[in-house]
Amino acid sequence: MNDLKKLAKEQKGSRIWLIVSSSGLALSVIAQAYLIVRIVDFVFLQQASFEVIIPLAIWLAIALLARVGFTYLNGWIGVKMATTMKRKFREKLFEKFSSNPLQASIAGQSGHKVSVTMDSVDELDSYFSKYAPQVIQSTIVPLSILIVVAIQHFPSAVIMMVTAPFIPLFYAIIGIMTKKKSEEQMDKMAIFSGHFLDTLQGLTTLKLFGRSNQKKESIEQSSLDFRDATMEVLKVAFVSSLMLELISMLSIGIIALEIGLQLVVFETITFVPAFFILVLAPEFYLALKDLGSAFHTGRGSMGAANKVNEELQQDIQPVHWGDKTLRHLTEPPHIMLDHVGYQYEEDGFELLPVTAEIPAFKQIAIVGKTGAGKTTLLHLLAGLLPPTSGELKVNDASLNEYQEEEWLGQISYISQHPYIFSGTLAENIALGSRKDVTRNEIEEAGQQAGISGFVNGLAQGYDTIVGEGGRGLSGGEKQRVALARAFLKKPSFIIFDEPTTGLDLFTEQILQQSIQTLSKQATMITVAHRLHTIRQADEIWVMEQGTIVAKGTHEELLQTTSVYQDMVNVQKRSVTL
């Protein structure tokens, strides 16, 4: 909450405007009450003629209009303030995400980040659009009323002053009492909805086992149980508003009683101030109650603000780049790893310093279990992550002496799940090139990647919309799009991260042919799991627990490395069974 408060305070211009318009609002509320009272007094007690009250009626109309106008203005400023803040937060998030090199490797958390960018930022709205203006309004309006009442009739102001603190006090007490319970209930609600969804998604299974009726009953029962649990929490909330209502009603009643007594018994007050106070009293308590409900909506934003701040406060180490170029190369660059290591945040996974050499046109295969650090090594080679130790050398200069676009222009990175953007197939393939490409070039790349057969079967061909909201692509088809991108790009250094995992053998076989073609003009490094891919490599790196434990050809490793022997044996056993 404090962070938000600070931000709201930084909006000085808006705050001044809010104070001005709230003061105007307070004035119009008071004027409205006063004018009504005067009109009633004129015609009722003083038996004045209608002409007398005409100017008063005009002033009253003005006061009413002003009241509406200022209320609207307050809301308008709030909405504008919310827009500014939301824009600011979203921009900061985008900036943070795009400069975070880890973003490339932690796609798993992307769902959360999407939700922070969309939902959490939207949830900030009510703090700035409702709560912040209401706080100012609910400070100025009751205070002004109190002052006016004090001038008119001090005892009533005393009653107001004594009773008013009970309203925020009650809100606080009840808030504390129900907060935990209602949060629990929100969690329960989410869990409950989750179970309902679970049941719906499992309908096929339920029906295959003839159990859908049984589940129907359990949906009804758990739904009713959930209702009862929710009602328990709501009851507390309702009692709280009952108490608040009673406090304000009783207070207004006490004021009315006191004024009535003064008016009739003691004759210390006249009709005009008495009626005036009576009209103002409900306005006073209403403003305080509004603050209470605004507080509830504001609190919803707090959780959201925490989530956004968590994202913004994450430490990032950007990759540094220089100004050297890599143009006019006649052959792929020569790459040297000189004690290159990487450690994810403190106590996180560590890739121990690696020293290795990748000469031009060489084909390297990396093998190892999940979690051995293979992908981290690939990310370092691609320049997606900055090494935390050692140096990555390209053609005898450190990688970070080159321009970013020069290096990225040289490489292709094809992972197990290439991303397909929403758009046409042609657009997705064209992603591979920085220049404008012709349809011919795209089709040629498609041809080389072995995708043309599939595309020709589509009614729209290369203009078929794919990705989100478009036609779904199978794993093999996605890989082929990624390969087509690479054919278009003509990289000199290709990085493959288990591109064929999860594909059936026949699809893989076809992909391998395209990969072979692609590798003719480039250096290639592949994380592989199939023996036949591994065997073709010029050099195999065996990785285990964050380090390269052995390097060599297939035959060499079979002789020397027991980890490698085991791996080969497992694959062989699957054939003989």
Partner: protein, 572 residues
């Protein structure tokens, strides 16, 4: 509005709570009006220095209405919320009942998970329909009509002014904004969708964007989309404030008319001055009851959309149910035959199966192999009557599948699909699905047979079996079929994520159990198929080759070639 009809139907069944919420709502609304009317009257009366007892009576009335209002509001809230949650639980059951007959075909489609998640959210969203849309107008009308009737005792013209106020705040303004809201809402949703897609692509496709140096371009896009969305949101916020302000404005204007007309009537002696304060206080208070009308259009629109979406889901299926005359034999294995069947998914241009014939005699063991996308799973789904073939016929035990009830087929088959669902609960709960009366011993034995003896029956399973690995899920699904013990087996790549050694052992066990049974196995591998009676090789929805393992190897055709690839890939 038509889509909301069945929601209304459910509301009507909760008569008691609905009536109680309206009753207490009216009491709360009216006592508030009475309270302020009385206070206005009290102060005027007091000004005339009346006998003290009349004042005491008035004050007592004041206090009483204060309490009644507070308690009335409490009870109104209590009953209306209880009604809401009861209605929701009924809607859930109703929806389940309606969607149940559509499974599994509706669940076989792409993005069915997303669809269902939306549905669950939509049902939750309907909670506001009763609370914010259905009964506030009833309350409003009752409170206003009573108040207006009361004022007619004092002045007809003031009663008329209040009536006009009711029409404007209760009908005209909400209608005006309902229309506007609908338009803004739909653009907001569209802009939000666009931004959300872009954010998703930006984050999930980050590496591809980075490598292809398209990040700055995408970032630029994002800023634009974000601005578009913010602009619409801002427009909505301002319209919302305008709506509220207009609402307040009109009620204040009505009060202004009340006071001016009232004053005129007093000066012309058509109204006793003592009632003027009372009437003014009434008009200032009664419009509080109209405030919920200002937010009604938004909620109505929201509910309407939710209800329409729910309706859409239900209407998606149109397959007419045939008369089911024929029943499958209780225990013995029946044969399965398909004659020249073809099938295409509605959204696909190409058919996934064409002119396909197959015969599985009782007690036979058949395997189907072929590359992914060759139509193997579709064939299995046709044999299970998830869909009906567009052409040709499927015969179960010699009878057309059209005349066999889906439930009957499923009760007599052991099925393992590629995706098997596991429910939130325990391993035991999930196994009991297959056989309600299974003992712990039976279940443990089944677990052991699939090499899952490390699982305890009480082990927790999360929604969709999220905490289980792919291989564990497949093995649990097989364990369920072991408990079910039907005599026809239809298995779709049941062990594709299980390691070879375990796969081999489980498969031997299946063959032992299914010795007398009809078995169809869709296999992702060719090794181990020597034990099958018959092997069918499929590609692009057609049979390429068939025969025994030895025959196919001897033929040196497609199967042989595939086998070579498999061996070479693995052994080379």
């Amino acid at each position: 509005m038509k889509d909301l009809q069945y929601v209304i139907k459910e509301i009507v069944t909760e008569k008691r709570d609905v009536i109680l919420s309206v009753l207490f709502g009216v009491i709360a609304g009216l006592t508030a009006v009475a309270l302020f009317a009385a206070s206005g009257y009290l102060i005027s009366k007091a000004a005339l220095k009346p006998p003290f007892y009349t004042l005491s009576l008035m004050i007592a009335f004041l206090k009483l209405s204060g309490f009644m209002r507070a308690f009335g509001r409490y009870l109104e809230r209590y009953f209306s919320h209880r009604a809401t949650f009861t209605i929701l639980s009924k809607l859930r059951v109703k929806f389940f009942e309606r969607i149940e007959p559509l499974a599994p075909s509706i669940l076989q489609r792409q993005q069915s998970g997303e669809l269902l998640a939306r549905v669950v959210g939509d049902i939750d969203r309907l909670q506001y329909f009763f609370l914010r849309v259905f009964y506030p107008p009833i309350l409003l009308v009752l409170v206003f009509v009573s108040t207006i009737l009361f004022t007619t005792f004092y002045s007809l013209s003031i009663a008329l002014i209040l009536l006009v106020g009711l029409m404007i705040t209760g009908v005209v303004i909400p209608a005006l904004f309902a229309w506007k809201q609908r338009r803004i809402e739909s653009t907001i949703r569209e802009k939000r969708g666009k931004l959300s897609t872009d954010v998703t692509e930006f984050l999930y496709g980050f590496r591809d964007l980075k490598i292809h140096q398209k990040l700055p371009e995408k970032l630029d896009h994002l800023q634009h989309k974000s601005s578009d969305y913010l602009r619409e949101q801002e427009r909505e916020g301002i319209v919302e404030r305008l709506n509220l302000s207009l609402h307040t404005g009109v009620s204040l204007l009505i009060s202004w008319f009340v006071i001016v007309v009232g004053a005129y009537l007093v000066t012309t002696n058509q109204l006793d001055g003592i009632f003027l304060a009372m009437l003014v206080m009434i008009s200032l208070t009664v419009f509080e009851n109209a405030t919920p009308m200002a937010v009604l259009p938004g909620y109505l629109e929201d509910s309407r959309r939710a209800a329409t979406r729910l309706q859409d889901v239900e209407e998606e299926d149109s397959s007419e149910e045939q008369e089911n005359k024929w029943h499958l034999p209780e225990t013995e294995a029946f044969d399965i035959k398909a004659n020249n069947i073809s099938f295409a998914f509605p959204e696909e241009a190409r058919s996934s199966i064409h002119s396909f014939s197959i015969h599985l005699p009782p007690g036979s063991k058949t395997a189907i192999v072929g590359p992914s996308g060759s139509g193997k799973s579709t064939l299995l789904q046709l044999l299970l009557k998830f869909h009906l073939p567009v052409e040709g016929e499927v015969l179960l035990g010699g009878n057309d599948i059209k005349h066999v009830a889906q439930e009957d087929i499923w009760a007599h088959t052991n099925v393992v699909l590629q995706e098997n669902h596991f429910f939130y609960g325990t391993i035991r709960d999930n196994l009991l699905l297959a056989k309600t009366e299974a003992t712990d011993e039976e279940m443990k034995a089944a677990l052991q047979q699939v090499h899952l003896d490390q699982f305890s029956l009480d082990q927790k399973v999360l929604e969709k079996g999220e905490n289980l690995s792919g291989g564990e899920k497949q093995r649990l699904a097989i364990a369920r079929t072991f408990l079910k013990q039907a005599s026809v087996w239809l298995l779709d790549e049941p062990t594709s994520s299980v390691d070879v050694v375990t796969e081999h052992s489980i498969f031997q066990h299946i063959l032992r159990l299914a010795e007398q049974d009809t078995l169809l196995l869709i296999s992702h591998r060719l090794n181990g198929l020597e034990q099958m009676d018959h092997i069918i090789v499929m590609d692009q929805g057609e049979i390429v080759e068939e025969g025994t393992y030895q025959e196919l190897v001897n033929q040196q055709g497609y199967f042989y070639e595939m086998k070579q690839i498999e061996d070479s890939v693995l052994m080379q």
